[in-house]
């Protein structure tokens, strides 16, 4: 009985939140213009490649994009095949150099603009109930708001003479130089070296996505029934749905790009402190951290689960910033993010964290 009462209460409150939540979710979606563009770019590239695969147009898939004898191999595949065969394969080396150069310029942009798992994620989002979507958004929102508030309090302390306040350095850091993905990458390469074949390629979600297209098409066009028709999509579901947060916790490709991406100084989102609500007006905002798909907190890097090395250049933060303080300049001189915040004096008078 008591339980029932609780659920009714919960549903009432969620309904109340629903009205507000739905409105703000739509507003957010409208703001993230690049997100729609990214989905479109990813979809067009994927459909093009899938059609090419089915029609036999020789241009490859994302595991080995190219035509004739030119190909740009997946960097993990290139490494794997060279370790497994213990030979230097010229095309693999060329691909590795090319990809490293691209990651150096565009960071992990592949992940948010081209990777088919991004599309699968969108499809998942689409089928998620509005309630679940709201819950997820609210959870992230409240976590980040708390961080932002904490930061402002320490800012105040800084003004009062406590030296380390604004830099946030006395806060526990949530991220290290390596994380679980790097362990998966190491495991994949170790297994490849021990057993002599590119092990990860068997389960790579990018490869499996194209394999799904092929296996479905073959079933219809040639009546080619196989267990793979069920197993291949099932493997995808296990990786992307059951193992939560594949991209930032498991994906060894993301780990590989992270290793190079940390040296990138181009197109890195940069905050203009004169415009940023937190620095210019001492208002807690943290919208940029909230929308970041890569779990980076640009305003307070120490609090992010990941560092700028993982920036996928998705432009969510640029789009969402209420004061347009974030830009992605072609070249960022020094490493972005470690600014010591100085607060203009007039604002200090009413330095109370403001939450909407």
């Amino acid at each position: 009985m008591a339980q029932k009462k609780e659920t009714t209460e919960a549903s009432v409150s969620s309904q109340a939140a629903g009205v507000k939540g739905k409105g703000s979710a739509n507003a957010l979606a409208a703001k993230l213009k690049t997100r729609r563009l990214r989905t479109a770019v990813g979809a067009v590239v994927f459909v093009g490649m899938a059609a090419g695969l089915v029609a036999g147009v020789s241009m490859g898939t994302m595991s080995g994009f190219g035509w004739d004898t030119f190909s740009m191999l997946c960097p993990l595949g290139a490494l794997g095949t060279m370790i497994a065969t213990k030979t230097v394969i010229p095309r693999a080396v060329v691909s590795l150099v090319l990809i490293a150069a691209l990651v150096l310029v565009f960071g992990r942009a592949f992940c948010s603009w081209l990777c088919p798992t991004m599309l699968i994620d969108r499809v998942r989002d689409f089928f998620r109930s509005p309630k679940k979507r709201r819950e997820l958004a609210e959870k992230k929102n409240s976590e980040i708001k708390a961080i932002s508030q904490q930061e402002l309090t320490s800012l105040k302390a800084a003004k009062d003479g406590h030296a380390c306040g604004a830099c946030g350095k006395c806060q526990p850091v949530h991220h290290g130089k390596v994380d679980s993905r790097h362990a998966v990458l190491g495991g994949a390469l170790l297994s490849t070296a021990v057993f002599g074949f590119p092990v990860f390629c068997l389960v790579c979600p990018v490869g499996l996505t194209f394999a799904t297209v092929l296996v479905i098409w073959r079933a219809f066009a040639h009546g080619d029934a196989t267990i793979g028709l069920i197993l291949i999509p099932a493997m995808l579901v296990i990786e992307l749905v059951v193992l939560r947060k594949w991209c930032s916790n498991f994906c060894p490709l993301s780990a590989l790009m992270n290793l190079v991406g940390r040296f990138s100084r181009t197109f890195v989102p940069t905050i203009n402190d004169e415009k940023c609500l937190e620095t210019a007006r001492a208002t807690s905002c943290s919208k940029c951290a909230e929308v970041c798909d890569a779990d980076i907190n640009i305003r307070h890097p120490e609090f992010g689960l990941r560092t700028m090395a993982d920036c996928t250049r998705c432009r969510n933060c640029v789009d969402v910033c209420p004061t347009h303080a974030i830009t992605m300049p072609v070249f960022v001189g020094k490493k972005a993010g470690k600014t010591v915040v100085e607060i203009p004096d007039p604002v200090m008078d009413d330095l109370e964290p403001k939450l909407d």
Partner: protein, 229 residues
């Protein structure tokens, strides 16, 4: 800059600052174990498959192939298909030749002057041919030195053994690898000359035994068997 950071880190308590979290460690160890387990599939092996030209060294193919699917696209005759899981998890999605669809391999003699396109596009050299090679030549009837497999006739299902006079495989073969017993007689029966067969699959592609209706079998009466490595 990096040094400065380090110094600061040293000063502050070594709380959970940086490093890998417990959850991260769990994921890392678990995934490594899973990937090592997956690697052990190597010993499970798989059913022998007809590989495209340059892929007959099975160990090399398995080591090199990253399942990028470029050879399927490149094959002008759509004879290369992904291997199925039923043939073994290790070989899943690796390239194999399927002659049951009516397609066979001519080593790109017609399409690319005898330079197999699948080998040309393979970015990881999993399909690899020696520096000098000759392919089967349908004009002169030479067998060439790229051997995919050898054709084998099953007398229990072959229509010719049922006195139907079928000789479709004999007609399909470009390399005189199929000859007829009692040629010109009432019931010519085909047999394979193994030395001349390069496993191109034209005979299997042409075989009618399964489509004739009354014969129950899982495979055609003439099939190409991969050569033993």
């Amino acid at each position: 800059m990096a040094q400065e950071e380090k110094k600061d880190e040293a000063e502050v308590k070594p709380a959970p600052r940086g490093g890998i979290t417990r959850r991260g460690l769990f994921i890392g160890v678990g995934s490594t174990a899973a990937l090592l387990g997956l690697g052990a599939l190597r010993y499970a092996g798989h059913n022998p498959l007809n590989r495209p030209p340059g892929g007959t060294d099975e160990a090399h193919l398995v080591s090199g192939c990253i399942r990028c699917e470029r050879c399927y696209e490149a094959c002008p005759r759509e004879a290369i298909v992904p291997a199925k899981i039923e043939d073994g998890l290790l070989g899943m999605r690796s390239p194999m030749l399927d002659f049951n669809t009516g397609n066979y391999c001519d080593f790109c003699y017609e399409e690319n002057g005898g330079n197999p396109l699948c080998v040309a596009v393979c970015p990881t050299a999993a399909l690899e041919l020696p520096a000098a090679f000759t392919v089967g030549n349908p004009e002169t009837g030479e067998t060439g030195d790229i051997i995919i497999g050898t054709a084998e006739i099953d007398p229990r299902t072959c229509l010719a053994y049922r006195m139907t006079g079928c000789r479709d495989c004999y007609d399909a073969c470009n390399y005189s690898a199929i000859e007829l017993k009692d040629e010109g007689g009432a019931n010519p029966i085909p047999y394979v000359v193994e030395d001349k067969c390069n496993g191109c699959g034209a005979c299997q592609a042409a075989c009618l035994s399964l489509s004739s209706g009354s014969i129950k079998s899982t495979e055609r009466a003439i099939v190409v068997r991969p050569i033993e490595a």
